[in-house]
């Protein structure tokens, strides 16, 4: 999925303006000419300039506003694609209440099965990888992975 340069440029121009607007709330210090807003403003101007070039170039090219690749018409591929960010989102939402071990196991198992692994393979690999990662990061590296529902057991 690709926006045309003109649309992309227009969006980025808006973004640059927003960044500049945010810098107007930065305090200035008396006697100090180069305050915290100087550098971000230079960058906002840079982004704005590049966005303008893209916008002008895009207007001249007259390309379609949005180009969509072939796979986006195939629901199965779209779901596969979306599953990666959605699985991450699910991890963010449930890992704390549920705990790392159940979350990771279900996440791996679900993805394995969606990607057409056989259940005989998917189940043991999901369980094994979950325990391995937990052992390595929580056990060896002392990363405080959330315990969740298994708090009393672990």
């Amino acid at each position: 999925m690709r926006m045309n340069d003109a649309l992309l440029g227009a969006l980025l121009l808006g973004f640059a303006g927003w960044v500049w607007w945010l810098t107007t709330f930065f305090p200035s210090f008396p006697g100090q000419d180069y305050g915290p807003n100087l550098f971000p403003r230079i960058l906002a101007a840079g982004i704005g300039f590049c966005a303008l070039v893209l916008l002008l170039r895009g207007l001249r090219q007259r390309a379609p506003l949005l180009v969509v690749e072939g796979w986006m018409a195939q629901p199965r591929r779209v779901v596969s694609f979306l599953l990666i960010p959605l699985a991450s989102l699910a991890y963010i939402l449930v890992s704390d209440p549920l705990g790392f071990i159940p979350t990771a196991f279900l996440l791996l198992l679900g993805l394995f099965l969606w990607f057409q692994a056989r259940p005989v393979v998917a189940l043991p690999v999901a369980a094994g990888m979950t325990l391995l990662v937990h052992w390595f990061f929580a056990g060896l590296m002392r990363v405080p992975l959330p315990r969740g529902v298994l708090d009393s057991v672990l």
Partner: protein
Amino acid sequence: MDPLIEAFGLVFDPFVLAVIGLSAIFGMFVGAMPGLTATMATALLVPVTFFMPPVPALGAIVTATTMAIFAGDIPGAMLRMPGTPASAAYADESYAMTQKGQLNLCMGVNLVFSVGGGLIGVAVLIAFAPLLAEVAINFSSYEYFWLACLGLTCAVFMSNADPVKGFLSLFFGLLLATVGIDPAAGFPRFTFDDVNLMGGVNFIATMIGMFAVSELMRGAVTFDLATKAVPQAVGSLFRGLGEVTRRYWLNFLRGSAIGTAIGALPGAGADIAAWISYAVAKRFSKQPEKFGTGEVEGIVDATSANNSALGSAWIPALVFGIPGDSITAIVIGVLYMKGMNPGPTVFQENPQLIYAVFLIFILANLIMFPLGWAAIKSARQILRVPRNLLLPVILLFCLVGSFAMTNSLYGVVLMLAMGVLGWVMEEHGIPIAPLILGLVLGEMLEQTFVQSMIKADGAFLEFFSRPIAGSLGVFTLLIWLVMLARGFRRAPAAAPA
């Protein structure tokens, strides 16, 4: 104690050697799997090495990347799919050799000249880094400002992408670096009252998102596409190598020299080294018409170049704290985490650590020989690892890795956001590497800029007052001019379309 002897003690320690061995296997695997890159291997390694002392942590990164850049050649020759972007320049050529029945020769050449090129890059690193450090010790904020500018400009200039989009990515990275408490005045910028953002944008979680999650999203779309049958390398890999070496030793030296030079340039790494040296080989070949038909000549140049670029990329990273490519950008992050801030002083304060890195580089290139041989021989098994199991497992590593970098879900949220952003950027032809370099160098660039402005009291000409700063400044401005001119020339050409 002599720092060199101390360095030997640090490296030849059972734990460090075990870490190096495991990282070597990990690097071979990641490099040989198409779709998993050396940069991704490094980003995923950082959380694992987070709690280790500096030497094993750096050793793991050095070894894994050295292996991955070589291993990327294997699927290039066998499946016409480069394992890492650094092998893309000659994947077609290698595959053509395989189809002519010269798989063994192709793999032998790749292995031997990768080791050779790698060692040349390391030799240059060992010879020049300490010398440069002695010069750099007298640098002021002006020099560092121009060096950072030059490094960032090179990142845009050397990439194949549209310069406007390259600069866009760069500015965005620099802007991300301003998130958090402002270093000069202590004012929180762009934090939206979020406590996590006060500490800034975590750089490793960003890398994992940009280089791994976005790659997984792309991989998920094509997970079920059948892979071709993997040909097996039977027999000796080294037959005919003597003949190749006799005919093309000059190509080997030229490729290594180009690779070393490009690697040492801030902002350009192994993949660009391979493209350029392959093009140079074709340009100066006696039989350029044979390129693309399975001719070993260009492969000798390019496979030496990408491995030699790896070592020399550490020169600007160690001496100035300016990354030579996206891998050393991560290395710089790791150095800061380990409290050995890169810069000329590290050569005086911790010379044993620097020597240890040199030793590991040599060691990594030497063990590449047997391990690379084993990887070629077992390529069929490695490439048979099902992608439908691999993708979810890597995603789990990404999740846990970015969690470990912040010990909170903030890292995971950041990783997800950056993964989606990275995918959108790549879809629009906006390169990711300049953003990463901007994020790493942003604070240094802003600090040296504001410091210099205060020192000069706003007189920008002061930025050119010292000889080295002046030359660096003029050079940087020249590159900017060339890019502007190119941009203007390109614009009318695009108009009639």
